[in-house]
C-alpha cells in the first residue's frame, strides 16, 4: 500500500494544491471528479487530477475505501445553498452527526475540506500489518459493503 503523505512534505503540498485546483474547476458541475476542467464548470475537456497524479489517485482510493464507522460525509442543510460536514455512525438507525459548526456555500468546496481532514486523520501506514485487528477476519476491514 502507498503511504499517506504527511503535512509539511512536498507530496502533501502537491496533492493539496492539485485537489484544490480540481475542485475549483468543478464548481457548477452537477457531479464532481478530482479532475481539472479546462473551462471551469464545463466537463468538455478534462485533465490532471486523478488521471495524471498517481499518488493523488491512490490516496483518494484509500480514503474512499475507509469503513463506514466514523467516515466523513457531506450533508446538504439547505437545498442548493448550504452544506456541512458530518460523520457516519456505522450503526443502522443512528444518523450521521455534524462534526462542527462550519457551513459551506458551495457543494464542491466541502470535498476539499474533507480531503484535508482525512489527510490529518489517516495514519501514514494505514492498512499495514501493524494495524491488524480481529475485524479483518470478520468483514470489518477497509471494505465498504452495503
Amino acid at each position: 500500500m502507498i503511504s499517506i503523505p504527511r503535512k509539511g512534505t512536498p507530496e502533501y503540498d502537491r496533492l493539496v494544491k492539485e485537489h484544490k485546483a480540481c475542485i475549483d474547476s468543478m464548481k457548477g458541475v452537477a457531479g464532481c471528479s478530482i479532475l481539472r476542467c479546462a473551462t471551469p464548470g464545463d466537463t468538455t475537456e478534462i485533465s490532471g487530477g486523478i488521471h495524471e497524479d498517481f499518488l493523488l489517485n491512490r490516496v483518494l482510493l484509500r480514503m474512499r475505501a475507509l469503513p463506514a464507522k466514523g467516515k466523513l460525509v457531506v450533508i446538504c442543510t439547505k437545498v442548493e445553498k448550504e452544506w456541512r460536514i458530518g460523520r457516519l455512525s456505522g450503526i443502522r438507525g443512528v444518523p450521521p452527526v455534524f462534526v462542527d459548526d462550519r457551513t459551506f456555500s458551495d457543494e464542491q468546496e466541502v470535498q476539499h475540506e474533507i480531503f484535508l481532514m482525512r489527510l490529518e486523520e489517516m495514519a501514514e501506514s494505514d492498512g499495514m500489518p501493524e494495524h491488524f485487528h480481529e475485524g479483518w477476519k470478520r468483514r470489518a476491514d477497509n471494505w465498504t459493503a452495503t
Binding site: L61, I114, T144
Partner: protein, 804 residues
C-alpha cells in the same frame, strides 16, 4: 428533520377514479394539500429551475395534521385462542439468527422474540433471544437461559419445555455446526414456580407483543391496536408448539412435525401420542407465495405473516442439490424475518380525490406544506384508460425502478459507496431522515438492518427518494423520478401532447396498454422490469410500434409483483433477487435465487436468456458516477436509414457537452451495441462517447470472466455510450440514447432545439416516430443478410490490402 411525509394508494390513477392520500404530520396542527402538475423537479440554477403548475380542484385545502408511524418488522401471528392458553408446553424450532446481539445504540436493541405468547405487562410464555444473544425461555417474569450465546449466521436447534405440575423448565440449545473450540452447551434446567398468566395477546412468531393496547399509533399495526415488539432478525424453520413438556426423545420425534398424509392411524402425527398434544406445527415451505404460514397441525392455526419477510429461503436441511423451492419445498421451510421489513404503512386515509374524468394525463403530485415551513410531495400519475388514449406519445414512467430504489440508504450504509461514486457523497434531508427512521424500509439496493439482502419493496409507504428537489448521492444530481422530469419539462416546453403510463400498467394490461400509441418513450433508467412488461414492449415494437429508450441500464433485473397483495392494487410489492452476476450491491445466498412471489428464477434477464440489448438495441456495459461527457457522430449517422435524425446538426458538433447530470449527455450508466448480446444485426451506431470517460467508469462484471487491469473508462473500449437506431417489422423502430445522464441535457438552454443539439436530435426522432402509419421504408439496398459476428476487422484484411 422531516415532520411531513406521505404516500398515495396508487402510482397511476385513471381519470374518474379515486386516489387516497395518507399523511404523517408530526407536530404541526394542520397542513395544506394542493394538487400540482409536475414539470421540472430539478433546482439546479443552471437549468430552468423548479416548475410546478397549480391545479384548481376541490380537494385542495387545509387538513388536520396527525402523527402516523410505520410499524416495521416482520412476524407471524395467530390471534388468541384456547389452544394457545397452555399450562405446560414445549416450544421448538430451528433458528439462523443474523443479529443475536446488537449494539446498545442499534435502532431496535433488545431481546428478540422467536415463539411467544407473552407481553412485558401481562406475562405469558415464550422462547426468546435475550439482550446478551443467548436463547431464553420466559414464563411470566421468570427467565431461563443457557448463558451460551448463539453464533450468528449459523443454524441452531432450540427447544423449551415447561411442566406446570413439577415446575421444571428446560431449555435446549443444540448448534447444527460445532467447531473444535466450542464449549459444550448442556440443557439449562430450572424449577419455576409460576402459573402461566394468560392474556389476549396473540401467539407471535419472530417477535412478542409489546403492548395489548398500543394506543392510537398502534392503529397501523396488525393485529390492529396491538404493538408487536422484539422483532427477530434471522431465519426460523419448523416451529412447533405442544401443550405439555416433551422429553428430549419426543422433541426429536416432533422435529418431523405433523404428518397428516403419512398414516391415518397416527392422527396429526408424528406419532399418535404426540398428535394429542400438538397445538401447532408450521411448515413455512407451504404457501411460500402467500402471506400465511401454513399450520399442518390439527387446529389449522395458519399464521398471518405481516410485513412480508423473505421466503423461499433455504432451511436447516437444505442439501445443495435443489435450487428451486417449487421442487424441494421441504428444504425451503425457512422464513427470514427482518426488523425493518415493511409491506404496507397501513396509515389512516387523510384525504381522497376523485380525479375528474376529463383531467389530462400527466405527472402530478399532492404538494403538502405547513405554515411552519414543512414540505413534502406525493407524486402520482394520471393514466388514461386503455382505449381512451389522448395523445400519440406515451411516456412510460419506470415505477418498478422507482420501487427498486425506494428509500435507499447507500450513502449511509455503504460507507458512502465512495469507491463507486468517486467523491464524498452528499446526503439530503430525506437521507438524514431515513438514516434514523429505518421503519420506512430500504431499497432493493440496500441490505436490511441485519446486513442481509433486501429483495422486496412496497410502494405503500412514503418513498422519499421519489421526490422533486431531490439530488441523489450517486450523481449529486436528479436520479430517476426528478431526472425523468427533465424529459417531462422538455416535452412541455416543446409543445408535445403526451400521455403518461406506468410500468405496472404495462405489466397488467400488456400490449393493449401500448398499442394505442405511435411512440413510447422510456424514462432515464428503466432498469427493473417484469416479464409481462418486456413481452408487451417486444410485441409492440414487432408490430410497428416505436420505442425511444431515453436512458441506460434498462431491462436488467427480473422483477415480479407479489400476488398476495393484488387485492390492494396493482404492483404493491415488487421482488428482485441479486443472483449470480450483474452489478450487485448484495448477493443472494446459494439456493435463494427463485422468487417467493412467482417462483420464477430471479437475477439478470441476461441469465434468463433475455438479453438487455434485444429490447431497444443497446445494453449496459459500464457505469461511473463522477462526471459525464459528450458524443461524436459516427459515419453510420450519415446512412440514409437514419440521417434524418441529424438534420440541423453538424457532423463535427460536440453532442451534449452540457447537462444537468454530470455536466454531459453521456454519463452515469452507459449502454452499447453488441450484436452478440442481442442487438439486431442491422443496428446503426450513430454516435458514441468512446474514449472520453474517467477512471471512475468501470466495465460491468458480467462482461468479463476474471479480474484484470484495464477495465476503467480511460482504457477499456467497451466503456462508452452508443446512440443507436434500428428498424423493427411493420414500420416500427427503436432509438436508444444509451445514457442515464442523457435526459439531463434536454433542459439545457430551456430545451430549445436551436440552442441544444441533444434537444434537436430527440425532436427529430420524436417528430418522425410519432407520425401515424408505418415509418418510411429504408432504401432497398438496406435489405441484406447479416450475421451476428461476421464483421471483418481491418487487421484481417491483409490480403485485400495487398491487392491479392
Amino acid at each position: 428533520m422531516m415532520r411531513l411525509t406521505g404516500y398515495a394508494d396508487k402510482f397511476g390513477v385513471h381519470p374518474g377514479e379515486t386516489i387516497k392520500f395518507y399523511v404523517n404530520c408530526d407536530g404541526p396542527k394542520k397542513y395544506k394539500a394542493e394538487i400540482v402538475k409536475m414539470i421540472n423537479g430539478d433546482t439546479n440554477p443552471r437549468g430552468p429551475g423548479f416548475i410546478e403548475k397549480p391545479v384548481s380542484v376541490s380537494v385542495n385545502g387545509e387538513y388536520p395534521g396527525k402523527k402516523q408511524v410505520i410499524q416495521s418488522g416482520s412476524y407471524g401471528f395467530v390471534t388468541d385462542n384456547p389452544n394457545f392458553r397452555v399450562e405446560s408446553f414445549t416450544l421448538q424450532c430451528w433458528v439462523w439468527p443474523t443479529t443475536p446481539k446488537t449494539h446498545p445504540k442499534y435502532w431496535k436493541h433488545g431481546a428478540q422474540g422467536l415463539l411467544s405468547k407473552w407481553t412485558p405487562a401481562d406475562g405469558g410464555y415464550g422462547l426468546f433471544i435475550n439482550e446478551d444473544g443467548c436463547p431464553e425461555l420466559r414464563i411470566n417474569g421468570e427467565r431461563v437461559t443457557t448463558g451460551a450465546p448463539l453464533r450468528d449466521h449459523a443454524w441452531h436447534f432450540l427447544a423449551a419445555t415447561f411442566d406446570a405440575k413439577t415446575g421444571e423448565a428446560v431449555l435446549y440449545h443444540e448448534p447444527q455446526i460445532t467447531y473444535a473450540l466450542d464449549p459444550e452447551i448442556p440443557p439449562a434446567v430450572r424449577t419455576v414456580r409460576e402459573k402461566i398468566r394468560q392474556s389476549t395477546a396473540p401467539f407471535v412468531i419472530a417477535g412478542y407483543t409489546g403492548a395489548i393496547d398500543g394506543g392510537p399509533l398502534a392503529a397501523s399495526s396488525l393485529p390492529k391496536g396491538m404493538l408487536i415488539s422484539g422483532h427477530y432478525n434471522g431465519k426460523i424453520d419448523s416451529p412447533r408448539v405442544c401443550n405439555r413438556a416433551l422429553s428430549r426423545v419426543e422433541i426429536e420425534t416432533m422435529k418431523q412435525g405433523a404428518q397428516t398424509g403419512g398414516d391415518e392411524r397416527r392422527g396429526s402425527g408424528p406419532t399418535p401420542k404426540l398428535s394429542e398434544c400438538l397445538v401447532a406445527s408450521w411448515d413455512f415451505g407451504a404457501g411460500i407465495d402467500t402471506i400465511y404460514a401454513h399450520d399442518k397441525g390439527p387446529y389449522l392455526h395458519h399464521a398471518r405473516i405481516v410485513n412480508c419477510p423473505t421466503r423461499a429461503m433455504t432451511g436447516y436441511n437444505w442439501d445443495g442439490h435443489s435450487f428451486d423451492w417449487k421442487h424441494a419445498k421441504s428444504e425451503y421451510g425457512a422464513i427470514h424475518f427482518h426488523d425493518d421489513d415493511v409491506d404496507d404503512a397501513r396509515w389512516d386515509v387523510d384525504f381522497a380525490w376523485d380525479v375528474p374524468a376529463d383531467l389530462k394525463s400527466a405527472c402530478y403530485a399532492a404538494k403538502l406544506t405547513t405554515a411552519e415551513g414543512d414540505e413534502d410531495y406525493i407524486p402520482f400519475f394520471v393514466v388514461p384508460h386503455v382505449g381512451k388514449e389522448t395523445a400519440k406519445i406515451a411516456v412510460m414512467i419506470p415505477t418498478i425502478s422507482y420501487m427498486a430504489y425506494a428509500n435507499e440508504h447507500l450513502a449511509n450504509n455503504a460507507g458512502g459507496a465512495e469507491l463507486l461514486v468517486y467523491r464524498v457523497p452528499i446526503m439530503q434531508h430525506q437521507n438524514m431522515f431515513l438514516s434514523e427512521h429505518r421503519e420506512y424500509g430500504g431499497s432493493i439496493y440496500d441490505t436490511h438492518t441485519d446486513g442481509s439482502g433486501l429483495c422486496l419493496s412496497t410502494r405503500l409507504r412514503p418513498i422519499l427518494s421519489v421526490r422533486p428537489k431531490y439530488d441523489h448521492f450517486l450523481m449529486q444530481a436528479p436520479w430517476q423520478y426528478p431526472a425523468d422530469l427533465h424529459l417531462i419539462y422538455w416535452l412541455e416546453v416543446n409543445g408535445y401532447n403526451y400521455d403518461v403510463i406506468t410500468d405496472e400498467d404495462v405489466n397488467y394490461d400488456g400490449l393493449a396498454r401500448l398499442k394505442g400509441y405511435n411512440v413510447v418513450i422510456t424514462g432515464s433508467h428503466p432498469e427493473h422490469n417484469s416479464g409481462p412488461q418486456l413481452d408487451a414492449l417486444h410485441n409492440y415494437t414487432q408490430q410497428g410500434g416505436r420505442l425511444m429508450y431515453m436512458g441506460a441500464d434498462g431491462w436488467y433485473w427480473v422483477h415480479s409483483f407479489h400476488p398476495a397483495y393484488d387485492h390492494l392494487g396493482r404492483g404493491i410489492i415488487t421482488e428482485m433477487r441479486r443472483c449470480e452476476s450483474g452489478i450487485r450491491t448484495w448477493r443472494a445466498d446459494p439456493g435463494e435465487y427463485y422468487h417467493q412471489s412467482t417462483g420464477e428464477l430471479g437475477g439478470m434477464w441476461r441469465y434468463r436468456g433475455r438479453y438487455l440489448h434485444t429490447v431497444a438495441g443497446t445494453g449496459m456495459s459500464s457505469e461511473g458516477f463522477d462526471i459525464s461527457t459528450w458524443y461524436s457522430r459516427t459515419p453510420e449517422s450519415n446512412d440514409p436509414r437514419v440521417a434524418w435524425a441529424f438534420e440541423g446538426i453538424g457532423y463535427d458538433e460536440k453532442l451534449g457537452n452540457f447537462g444537468l447530470v454530470g455536466g454531459g449527455a453521456a454519463g452515469t450508466e452507459l449502454d452499447i451495441v453488441d450484436t452478440m448480446l442481442g442487438s439486431p444485426p442491422h443496428t446503426l451506431v450513430v454516435a458514441t462517447s468512446a474514449g472520453r470517460h474517467t477512471e471512475g467508469y468501470l466495465l460491468v462484471m458480467e462482461d468479463f470472466g476474471f479480474n484484470q487491469q484495464g477495465l476503467d473508462g480511460t482504457q477499456h473500449p467497451r466503456i462508452r455510450s452508443d446512440i443507436a437506431y434500428h428498424e423493427t417489422p411493420n414500420g416500427g423502430g427503436c432509438f436508444a440514447f444509451s445514457s442515464i445522464a442523457f435526459c439531463g441535457s434536454l433542459p439545457w438552454n430551456n430545451g430549445d432545439p436551436a440552442k441544444n443539439n441533444i434537444s434537436r436530435l430527440v425532436k427529430n426522432v420524436l417528430d418522425r416516430f410519432m407520425k401515424d402509419g408505418p415509418l418510411p421504408p429504408p432504401p432497398a439496398d438496406a435489405y441484406k443478410h447479416r450475421g451476428r459476428a461476421d464483421y471483418d476487422p481491418p487487421g484481417n484484411k491483409v490480403s485485400t490490402a495487398r491487392g491479392v
